[in-house]
């Protein structure tokens, strides 16, 4: 398995080798070949963007926005600096895939960022790495040094006359800095809070310059696409859902971890790969894409395939592919309390509905969990959620509401039981 002889493992193939993160491992198996080809042949940017569009690669950070389309928003003839930014600020509960890319395949990300930088005419690139994975910040810096020493970064890359450099930037663990404009503010040294959009980063981004921001897995997929073509990538998955995707399984499974599978793989197969529900218990619920997407009942999930469109049709989102599995021992009130606390803590506090509403929702759920719920609380929660949703500067408000509304939608009876009996129905 390698970039030379591909299988479905787009981003995780180096883990089959000793020293997966080493430059030697990467180059020995086809690494940087795509970049070399592009620089040698001076592949036009349009051709690269067309290939990415053909691949149906969609943003792996959670929003699933078509990458090729995003790249085409960058102004072509802009007279000034442009930037490419990689979003490795992986902070949502349930997500841990980007960390493994940084850890085991840093050069594929570097090559991806180089190709993106070349295509978009960027002067430099930044990789914003979550503050709580400082080890990966260091290891990625080491990988940059390796790449620089080998002539892949810096001035006159591979003798092509093209200059480009990459820098690592680490945050301090704020979830909101994963929002792309908050991330830009943070790189600029300001308080990490989202900007009002428009203007979008493609016209007013880092330091006010045109900027493209992509997720780690997205950028790391680029060398594979350029090596084997957009069609091959698309063929790994299904139409409109190209490629493979890393799914991070956590919660009640036998073997939690990252699994890279083709888009469109049935959830049941994915669950099987992770050894099934822990202890063979009954599957109760799944959050398919990270804590901010709506929860789905286990039975519903077992019918779905793992791709953007299938999950969306069922009323949730594929998100970052962070699959949180819950068995029948889980109290949904307690689970929601924990999630609500996360958003309450992580709201940046800039705009009113999120600043005030996330704390309110948490407190009401906390009360219910602790036997002090009131019958009117469930309607109140729905209403507070509605008042946040769609009325904030960034999507954190919506993310905070997603779990609340979906938990109440699918598991309302548990909340009602808590309120009425002042205790949990699970195990009762």
């Amino acid at each position: 398995m390698s970039l030379n002889a591909p299988n479905h493992k787009v981003c995780t193939w180096t883990q089959d080798y000793d020293h997966p993160a080493a430059l030697a491992t990467y180059t020995a198996h086809g690494g940087y070949a795509a970049l070399k080809k592009i620089l040698t042949e001076k592949t036009p940017a349009d051709a690269i963007i067309a290939e990415v569009k053909l691949s149906a690669l969609r943003g792996r950070g959670g929003a699933g926005f078509p990458t090729g389309l995003k790249w085409s928003f960058m102004p072509r003839n802009y007279d000034g600096d442009k930037y490419i930014v990689c979003n490795s600020d992986e902070g949502e509960p349930g997500t841990f895939k980007d960390r493994d890319i940084l850890r085991f395949n840093p050069h594929q990300l570097i090559e991806g960022m180089l190709i993106a930088g070349y295509t978009l005419g960027a002067r430099a690139g930044y990789n914003y790495i979550h503050g709580e994975i400082f080890e990966q910040y260091r290891s990625w810096e080491a990988a940059l040094d390796e790449a620089r020493a080998a002539g892949f970064l810096g001035n006159n890359i591979l003798g092509s006359g093209w200059n480009f450099d990459l820098h690592a930037h680490h945050g301090y663990g704020a979830y909101v800095c994963g929002e792309e404009t908050a991330l830009l503010e943070s790189i600029e040294g300001k308080k990490g809070q989202p900007r009002f959009k428009p203007p979008f980063p493609a016209s007013y981004g880092l330091y006010g310059k045109p900027t493209t921001i992509n997720n780690t897995e997205t950028l790391a997929s680029i060398p594979w696409i350029m090596r084997h073509g957009g069609q091959a990538f698309l063929d790994l998955g299904k139409p409109n859902n190209g490629g493979s995707k890393i799914f991070s399984l956590s919660g009640h499974v036998e073997r939690p971890g990252n699994y890279e599978v083709r888009m469109g793989t049935p959830f049941s197969e994915l669950l099987e790969m992770a050894g099934g529900v822990k202890g063979g218990r009954e599957l109760k619920a799944v959050i398919p894409g990270g804590s901010s997407v709506p929860v789905l009942p286990g039975a519903t999930m077992m019918e779905l395939t793992m791709d953007y469109d299938s999950i969306a049709k069922a009323g949730s989102y594929l998100g970052a592919g962070s699959v949180i599995v819950m068995d029948d021992t889980v109290c949904m009130v307690k689970a929601l309390e924990r999630l609500a606390y996360f958003y309450f803590e992580e709201s940046c506090g800039q705009c009113t509905p999120c600043r005030e509403g996330t704390g309110w929702m948490y407190r009401v759920i906390h009360r219910i969990e602790h036997g002090q719920g009131r019958p009117e609380d469930l309607d109140l929660l729905m209403s507070v959620g509605t008042n946040i949703s769609g009325r904030t500067i960034c999507a954190l408000g919506d993310a905070a509401v997603g779990p609340v509304h979906s938990f109440l939608k699918h598991f309302r009876n548990e909340f009602e039981y808590h309120i009425e009996h002042k205790r949990c129905m699970v195990g009762a």
């Binding site: 800039q350 705009c351 009113t352 509905p353 600043r355 407190r363 769609g390």
Partner: protein, 747 residues
């Protein structure tokens, strides 16, 4: 231009206009908190959410630019639901302490809550409590009331240019606060009180004094600098309780400096003179007006008859009104005196010339190149400094010539920092550089800057006007302005310096040769003159000194008759500001005690002498005579013909500026302003090398001619070498004598 429909009304507005602005033009009010027309868009309060056709979500009207064909509904159920939702969020953690909140009755949150708030709260949890912040003696805080609109933070960063407040913390823990162990110390800080839509930031001096609805409002004009900020003077129980800005885009743009805002406290100082007094055998006794006026007129008449008219000197504050100054000069001239002084803080031989800004105040914002000569701008003219900052933000280049490289509120492109005796040489170099001759790098840089750009100005500040070579600096600045096509401007020192010159209340140097008799109008001579010590000496030897003053101060030491006059809030009249704008005002309150407006006192004094043409019934009648048609043509910045001889340089030159809160008798008595860091007791500052030459002492005994003054010493490497900066206009430094002189330091 895009055509938008808001609530079924159509309007065409320029592209880029926001929905909230377009709605405003249609007379449609959209509730908001964080939006402010003078500040950047935050779009964070979300109160202005409106329904926009085809938009999937409600959009903030403040941050949504209009688009052609856009249809906006601000009062649809969809919009109202969004607005009410936000209102509820704003209220859940806002304390219900309106009854004890100073903002009550004039609170945006309260007002909007009436329209959009619920009858009862659905929030049953504990409310957030936020610790108080100490922002200094002017701004009181109740941070629990803060709704995080960030207006105060944005004001500091965007208008004042001083980032003293920020919003650290996240989520519910976001708090507005100053830097640790710091306060808000800028000269425009009071504006955050007006900007705060709730009672989180309120006026400390005004706290618990009155409710908004109990206050009557009068328009006023600030007399503390020559901008003449427009004021709303708020009065209760016959006292000024608070001063707020009145809207005038051409003058103060809705802002006030702290000096304009808080100086009113000085009106009620303990040493207000409220009854006429005469000195009787060395003892001061209170008398009625008739007695005092008769005494004054009698003594002056004797002096005139014995020694001639020029034995009498007339000195007025440049903040006195047009009418007062007109009557004063009329009285003086009728008595045969040519000794009239109304520019006591200027050194120019031709200071009767009505020197002005040379352009409208509003034009400052549009300048491309500015050369500021000898101006400590932020303390001289705080709001003009904000305009200069606006110009620089919009791409203007500011160059300065000063003895101190002070922190400005904006970027300085070029600076020549030199001892005052070198200023003329520095200007000469710039002039030469403009003509292509060789010059220093700094002069070349300034010349290069002045050569480019379209709208340019060379402006002389208060320090340049009190400079021993004031006229030579003027001449050189005029030459530079002419060479680069710039407007030559002055920053007049007093609120009515321009008006005083227009009414010809300036014709002599009254203290240079002591007079037998003096009439003083509204000034404290020891603090308000170029050489306070010499003034006091002249007054001490005079036989008769009639003081028209609002305060006793040190007047009992030198006066023979004290006539209580009305300070600004109790006075009426007109002031001519730096741009030649005549601004008139009526009394906001009654006079205290027996005090009377000075124009009435001068008029009656004229009657005492039997002078013709003194029978005015109204202040307007005086004004009509003082400012005949065409008076504006008297404004004139032409340079005098002077000898450009070398300055007297000494080892230690005194940089003698008037501190921001020591500009006049009222301000000097404003207790809150006097408690600020900017009003700290004078110290001597100098750069490291001068301090080393002075033996590295921690205190210095400094003198010029008179008694030595002991001062603490601080190092400030922003000062030019050889310069000792010591605040003038302060009782402690009076005996240093003539400002900007050469000092000796006792070993």
């Amino acid at each position: 231009m895009p055509l938008v429909t808001i609530d079924n009304k159509e309007i065409e507005v320029p592209a880029g206009t926001s929905v909230i602005e377009a709605a405003q033009q249609l007379g449609i009010y959209i509730p908001h908190f964080c939006y402010h027309k003078k500040l950047s868009i935050a779009a964070s309060c979300r109160m202005c959410l409106v329904e926009v056709e085809k938009a999937p979500k409600p959009l903030p009207a403040c941050a949504t630019p209009v688009a052609d064909g856009m249809k906006v509904k601000t009062r649809s159920q969809y919009a109202i639901d969004a607005q009410k939702g936000v209102m509820e969020f704003l209220l859940i953690n806002h304390p219900l302490d309106c009854p004890i909140c100073d903002q009550g009755g004039e609170c945006q949150l309260q007002d909007i809550a009436v329209g959009y708030g619920g009858v009862e709260s659905r929030y049953a949890e504990a409310k957030r409590v936020v610790s108080e912040k100490d922002l200094g003696p002017l701004v009181a805080t109740d941070m629990t009331r803060c709704i995080h609109c960030s207006r105060c933070v944005r004001f500091g960063q965007e208008i004042a240019g001083q980032m003293e407040l920020g919003m650290p913390g996240r989520g519910e823990h976001v708090e507005v606060m100053p830097f640790l162990e710091s306060q808000v110390n800028n000269e425009l800080s009071g504006n955050i009180i007006d900007l705060c839509p709730v009672g989180a930031l309120t006026s400390k001096p005004f706290r618990y004094h009155a409710r908004g609805w109990e206050l009557s409002r009068r328009l006023g004009v600030s007399p503390h600098d020559s901008l003449g900020s427009n004021l709303t003077v708020q009065v209760k129980d016959g006292r000024v309780q608070r001063v707020l800005p009145a809207d005038n885009e051409a003058v103060n743009e809705g802002w006030l400096s702290d000096r304009d805002r808080f100086a009113y406290q000085g009106l009620y100082a303990d040493d207000r003179l409220t009854v006429p007094m005469i000195k009787d055998n060395g003892r001061w006794i209170e008398v009625d007006w008739a007695t005092a006026l008769a005494q004054a007129a009698g003594a002056l008449r004797v002096l005139k008859e014995t020694h001639g008219g020029d034995a009498l000197g007339f000195v007025a504050s440049p903040a006195a009104t047009v009418e007062e100054l007109h009557l004063l000069q009329k009285l003086a001239r009728s008595l045969g005196s040519s000794q009239i002084e109304s520019h006591p803080l200027e050194r120019s031989a031709g200071r009767g010339q009505a020197r002005w800004l040379g352009m409208p105040v509003a034009k400052v914002n549009t300048l491309d190149r500015i050369l500021l000569v000898g101006s400590t701008l932020r303390s001289e003219q705080p709001l003009l400094a904000a305009r200069v900052r606006a110009a620089v933000k919009a791409s203007a280049e500011l160059s300065i010539l000063h003895a101190a490289n002070d922190t400005q509120n904006c970027a300085v492109a070029n600076a020549v920092i030199a001892a005052p005796s070198q200023w003329l040489a520095a200007l000469t170099e710039i002039e030469q550089a403009l003509k292509g001759a060789s010059a220093s790098a700094e002069a070349q840089a300034i010349a290069a800057s002045l050569k480019s750009g379209a709208n340019k100005a060379v402006v002389l500040g208060a320090v340049a006007q009190i400079h021993p070579q004031a006229d030579a600096l003027h001449t050189k600045a005029a030459a530079i302005a002419a060479a680069c096509g710039a407007t030559l401007g002055f920053l007049p020192v007093g609120a009515n310096s321009v008006g005083a010159a227009v009414v010809k209340a300036q014709s002599g140097d009254v203290f240079a040769a002591p007079r037998k008799g003096y009439v003083l109008l509204g000034l404290e001579p020891e603090l308000d003159c170029v050489d306070g010590a010499a003034a006091m000496q002249a007054l001490a030897t005079a036989e008769c000194v009639v003081g028209l003053t609002a305060y006793k101060g040190r007047a009992p030491e030198y006066a023979t008759v004290l006539l209580p006059i009305a300070p600004w809030a109790e006075n009426e009249g007109g002031l001519v500001n730096m741009e030649g704008r005549l601004q008139t005002f009526n009394a906001a309150t009654r006079c205290q005690g027996e005090a009377r407006p000075a124009w009435k006192v001068l008029r009656v004094l004229g009657n005492q002498f039997g002078l013709e043409g003194c029978d005015f019934d109204t202040v307007a009648a005086v004004r009509a005579e003082a400012l005949p048609d065409g008076w504006l043509e008297g404004l004139n910045n032409a340079a005098p013909a002077v000898d450009l001889g070398a300055a007297v340089a000494g080892a230690i030159e005194w940089l003698a500026e008037t501190p921001i809160y020591a500009v006049d008798a009222v301000t000097r008595r404003a207790s809150a302003l006097q408690a600020t860091a900017m009003a700290a007791a004078p110290v001597a500052t100098a750069n490291a090398s001068l301090l080393a030459r002075l033996g590295g002492k921690t205190t210095l005994r400094v003198r010029q001619a008179g008694l030595a003054v002991e001062l603490a010493v601080r190092q400030d490497d922003r000062l030019a070498d050889g310069v000792l900066r010591i605040a003038a206009g302060h009782p402690h430094t009076v005996s240093l004598g003539a400002r900007m002189g050469v000092l000796e330091v006792e070993a």
